[in-house]
């Protein structure tokens, strides 16, 4: 059983209270993008065996979308964070690396903190 703590209402929500939303941090490629980019955006998903970042919605609770870092093999949850976050926060990266020392982030841009995106939440 998966239990995720919703970062908006703070409640620990059990799996059946949540709705899954697939891979997190997808960048949209719309009009003006190449066919390859658009195909990747629509269909290419990571499906890793190990650390994965996902979208979830607290559907039966506060109704907000949030992001979660977890291990797809052990179902261990490293943390949850707000959806207005372009990349996993430094705290999440630290929590993952504490448990998986060999894991390194696969994104390049500097992780933004949730505080700077806070104004988007309302």
């Amino acid at each position: 059983m998966l239990t995720l703590t919703c970062p908006y209402c703070g409640n620990a929500a059990e799996e059946t209270e949540l709705a899954p939303g697939g891979e997190a941090h997808l960048k949209r490629f719309g009009p003006g993008s190449s066919d390859e980019q658009f195909e990747d955006y629509l269909f290419a998903r990571k499906n890793p065996k190990g650390v994965h970042f996902e979208r979830w919605r607290h559907a039966y609770g506060c109704g907000k979308w949030f992001l979660a870092a977890r291990d797809t093999v052990t179902l261990e949850v490293f943390g949850t964070y707000k959806a207005q976050t372009p990349n996993p926060t430094p705290e999440i990266v630290a929590a993952v690396q504490a448990k998986r020392p060999n894991w390194t982030p696969d994104w390049t841009s500097t992780p933004a903190t949730t505080t700077s995106a806070e104004s988007l939440t309302e």
Binding site: E14, E17, Y60, G61, C62, T121
Partner: protein, 172 residues
Amino acid sequence: MAEALAKITELKDLGMVQIRADLVRAGDAIAAATGLAMPAANATVTDGARTLCWMSPDELLLVLPKAEAREATQALADALSTEHALVLDVSDMRAAFAIEGARAAQALAKLCPADIAAMPADGIRRTRAAQVACGIWRRGEGFVLIGFRSVGDYIGGLLRGAARPGTELDPR
């Protein structure tokens, strides 16, 4: 004959006003219009007749006697006229039940994937009851559970089934 776990009563006279707004910006206006303090996250504030419930970071629910709902909706709409906000009288789309009795929490424990027994006295929890969404807060010794009216009969049946005599969860 064993006793039922809890007494289930449908509350027909409960009015509800949904408020969606930026609660930080509009907090003072809402508090003034409702006559209640702003509730903290996952909490309710009550003066006996009216209860203001925290539903999500941008949503509140004002629970009050049904006769006052229309007036309160208008007062809130006026108070929030300068905000990007929604005030809606949702009394008719909700079904509400009182669950009262010493083992009321046990009846809810059978239906909800949340620790309702550990909820503080002024707490509110939105979760599901079997297959449908619901909200639960404490009232006196028992609880109030709200859900959608379209599934009101289902919720009533669920609660009565969960509270059936002889089905308590205490170790025997």
